[in-house]
């Protein structure tokens, strides 16, 4: 709701500024759950949206020098909270190592890389679709991969860029404010495509999967994670996470847009990706940690390979 008001007010105040085209493809709210929580922060920062240049210029997001100084200062303030491990994005920070463990083990096996090496993904081109602030892209870069991160929300891409520049090991990540479809049109391909916690926010999952598949080279790997459409997921991911524990802002997820593992497998098969492995994430409230398990009734992650 806030979002729509903002877009309308943008049109009213500065008619020359068009809302970024990336908004037109997607539903009003963003393509990653973390974006939704960043919308909470965006209400005091509404001015940023109205003053921002509408064009989702690729070069703009990768170079910090072309950004205006006062905007940089505002982005810096937000960026700190995004990456603050005890801040509003704490649940995602907690889940990150578990997701990375699954990704590391499946991709090492897929590309026959040595799992005991500190940089097993050296030479691999990965894309993180819906990268948010870069929580996933940075560890992947530290593991040696050549990472491209895309997100439909320009603010997130800016945040990701600022944070990645802080460490020489992650400063080579490419961030763009764009969509998977646009990249397909440009003919980009990657060894492995990752879209974690994205597909539940997408208008047309089947088309989205086709784009992901088109971005993957033949015999490449595709990894998606999402939330299962089950009663348990309704209780945990929506009622518990949004209303009781308030980990996420209300309305982040729509239960009806969750996919069951079977549906996801079918959609991916239709997009020439065969799902090879699936695992679930389970939260242990006592230790406060997420664990990989066979339980795919709430959060689950799937790894598939693209047919030739």
């Amino acid at each position: 709701m806030n979002q729509m008001r903002r877009i309308l007010s943008a049109r009213r105040l500065s008619p020359s500024i068009k809302p970024p085209p990336c908004f037109l493809h997607r539903r009003p709210f963003s393509t990653s759950e973390t974006d939704a929580s960043s919308e909470l922060l965006s209400s005091p920062h509404q001015n940023i949206q109205t003053h921002e240049d509408g064009a989702s210029d690729k070069s703009r997001s990768t170079k910090t020098t072309s950004l205006k100084e006062h905007e940089l200062a505002k982005f810096s303030a937000i960026a700190d909270t995004w990456w603050h491990s005890e801040g509003p994005f704490k649940p995602l920070h907690l889940m990150n190592p578990t997701r990375l463990a699954f990704i590391r083990s499946t991709l090492c096996r897929h590309f026959s890389k040595d799992p005991s090496s500190a940089r097993p993904f050296e030479g691999l081109r990965l894309i993180d679709v819906g990268c948010g602030g870069g929580l996933l892209s940075e560890p992947l870069a530290r593991m040696g991969a050549t990472v491209t991160g895309i997100d439909a929300v320009d603010k997130n891409v800016k945040i990701a860029r600022l944070h990645a520049d802080m460490d020489p090991m992650t400063s080579k990540i490419e961030y763009h404010c764009t969509t998977a479809e646009r990249l397909v049109d440009e003919g980009r391909t990657f060894d492995a495509v990752l879209a974690l916690e994205v597909i539940e926010h997408v208008a047309n999952p089947a088309e989205f999967c086709k784009s992901l598949s088109a971005l993957t080279i033949p015999n490449g790997a595709t990894i998606l994670s999402t939330i299962n459409r089950s009663m348990r997921a309704y209780a945990s991911a929506i009622v518990a996470a949004e209303y009781i524990l308030q980990w996420l802002p209300k309305g982040t997820h729509q239960w009806s847009s969750f996919l069951t593992p079977e549906e996801l497998t079918m959609i991916l098969r239709g997009a020439s990706v065969d799902v090879k492995e699936m695992a679930g994430f389970v939260y242990n409230p006592i230790t406060g940690r997420w664990l990989l398990s066979d339980d795919i009734s709430v959060n689950f992650i799937a790894y598939g390979t693209k047919r030739e």
């Binding site: 700190d80 491990s85 190592p97 600022l162 020489p168």
Partner: protein
């Protein structure tokens, strides 16, 4: 750059060629990485302050154990480690001449620690030096109401532990580090001050931020050393002992109290070899006699501070008499050797309890004092947090315990092992190693185990501090119970051996 070179040359004056070659190779890699402009974390632009992944403050047994453990793991052996310790002996090889008298500073390493040392490849060096395995232990007190004997065969093991000099432990692990691929730099200086800023964003920086920039943005910690150098690192590890400077600078509070006891340690000689560890609880504190090999034993005698200074300054002959007295008939009678006591409790004994059938023995007589008598005050101290922003504490800086069960340094080795495992997991998942979540995992693993052990040791210390009828009887019952009840004895041995990290629930 030149200063670093000079420092390396200084530490190598007494060292062997081997270390000198290592130092050069360390240098070479740094130069190559900076000219290649690679993405490696140790890319060190010339003229910039040295930047390391981990700075270990304190090059004692536990600090070097951490370095050796990192060096032995494939995921972490490429890291760049700085060791800050102003001990001039650090880095010199062969500081122990063969055939010399055993140093009084020894430690008992438990089987769990022995397997850790084997994993890092240090045990083979320890076996080349003097070391003493023991497979039997006897514990009794001055009341003569009971005793307990432990035998390694109770738990189907060959040994209960091994006694090794601290110097040997330190130098063996250092040899492992020297021979490994780990990039290490030894800074012979003290830590003056330490600084780390909260994380914040970079704005308007060039392609490769300098070390100072990264520090200003909270990505590195800055350490100022006493010789004027500044060292930058992603993670600072405080392995600098119970009066830890790192802990003080990080603002980590401690709880604890001083035991009003001092310990005297010295090396003594017997006429026969000793294969048993002996401990007798006296009214003012326990006296322990530990074999160190070749007919030598180590004495750790805990007592009042006034008694301690008396015993330290008395003549050698008087001291030897006092020691023999304390181990024998002084303060109280021997426990009665009751073979009938065994049969009344035999329904509890079970089949496998070899040591229950062993009789009480008197320890071997001390004939000569072979070293100076060293004295240390004893205290209990525990850090409220083991980790803080870009800081982790291991060993005595996190926890100081009473020596009555020989556990202190074993807890430290377990800390070093757990921290290096946490760092390896972090590297595997591409995390920044100074990140709080990673360090908290190490804390969550070690803190409960350390606190449990401290509680047990403190409880034992307090139980023996009072001479009170019913309490004496309770202690006697405890002796008998531990001696005759097999499951209890097995559990005690297993906990003291480090196989179990928590006394109750594992």
């Amino acid at each position: 750059m030149n200063r670093v070179l000079a420092r390396q040359l200084k530490t190598n004056v007494c060292g062997s060629k081997h270390i000198f070659q290592r130092a050069w190779s360390t240098h070479v890699t740094r130069k190559v990485s900076s000219t290649a402009g690679s993405n490696e974390s140790n890319a060190n632009s010339t003229g910039d302050s040295p930047q390391h992944d981990i700075a270990i403050v304190g090059g004692g047994m536990v600090g070097i154990a951490l370095a050796a453990s990192l060096a032995s793991k494939p995921l972490t052996k490429h890291l760049n480690v700085a060791i800050i310790d102003n001990n001039p002996l650090l880095g010199r090889k062969n500081i122990i001449e063969k055939g010399h008298l055993p140093d009084p500073r020894v430690s008992t390493v438990t089987p769990a620690t022995i397997s850790f040392l084997k994993d890092i490849g240090a045990w083979k060096y320890i076996e080349e030096q003097r070391h003493a395995y023991f497979d039997k232990m006897q514990v009794w007190d001055y009341t003569g109401l009971g005793y307990t004997r432990y035998n390694a065969k109770d738990v189907d093991q060959d040994i209960l532990g091994c006694v090794v000099e601290n110097k040997v432990l330190q130098s063996s692990q250092l040899s492992c580090v020297q021979e490994s691929d780990l990039q290490k730099t030894i800074y012979p200086a003290r830590l003056n001050s330490m600084d780390m800023l909260p994380s914040s964003s970079l704005t308007g920086l060039g392609e490769v931020p300098s070390t100072a920039d990264l520090f200003m943005r909270g990505r590195l910690a800055k350490l100022e050393l006493s010789d004027g150098n500044n060292v930058y690192a992603k993670l600072v590890v405080g392995a600098d002992g119970s009066k830890s400077r790192v802990r003080e600078l990080a603002g980590i509070k401690t709880t604890g109290w001083n035991y009003s006891q001092n310990a005297i340690i010295c090396t003594v000689e017997h006429t026969v070899e000793n294969f048993t560890a002996w401990q007798r609880f006296l009214p003012n504190g326990p006296i322990a006699l530990l074999p160190v090999g070749d007919k030598f034993s180590n004495i750790v005698w805990t007592m009042d501070p006034t008694e301690a200074s008396d015993r330290r300054s008395m003549s050698e002959d008087d001291f030897i008499k006092a020691v023999n007295d304390a181990l024998d008939y002084g303060y109280g009678p021997h426990p009665e050797i009751t073979s009938s006591g065994g049969s009344s409790l035999s329904w509890l004994t079970g089949d496998v309890n070899i040591s229950a059938k062993e009789r009480f023995e008197t320890p071997p007589k001390v004939v000569k004092l072979s070293s100076e008598r060293m004295m240390f005050p004893l205290s209990l101290r525990h850090a409220k947090d083991y980790v803080s922003n870009r800081v982790a504490l291991v060993g005595d800086s996190a926890h100081t315990v009473h020596p009555l069960a020989g556990q202190g340094v074993n807890l430290g080795f377990a800390d070093a092992s757990a921290l290096s495992r946490a760092i390896a997991e972090g590297i595997a998942l591409g995390t920044d190693i100074g990140e709080a979540n990673l360090l908290k995992r190490y804390e969550a693993e070690r803190k409960p185990a350390n606190i449990a052990m401290m509680a047990v040791l403190d409880g034992i210390q307090k139980m023996y501090a009072v001479n009170f009828g019913p309490l004496n009887a309770f202690r006697a019952a405890a002796f008998h119970g531990a001696h005759y009840i097999s499951p209890l004895k097995k559990r005690i041995i297993s906990y003291a051996s480090g196989e179990q990290s928590l006394p109750l629930f594992s």
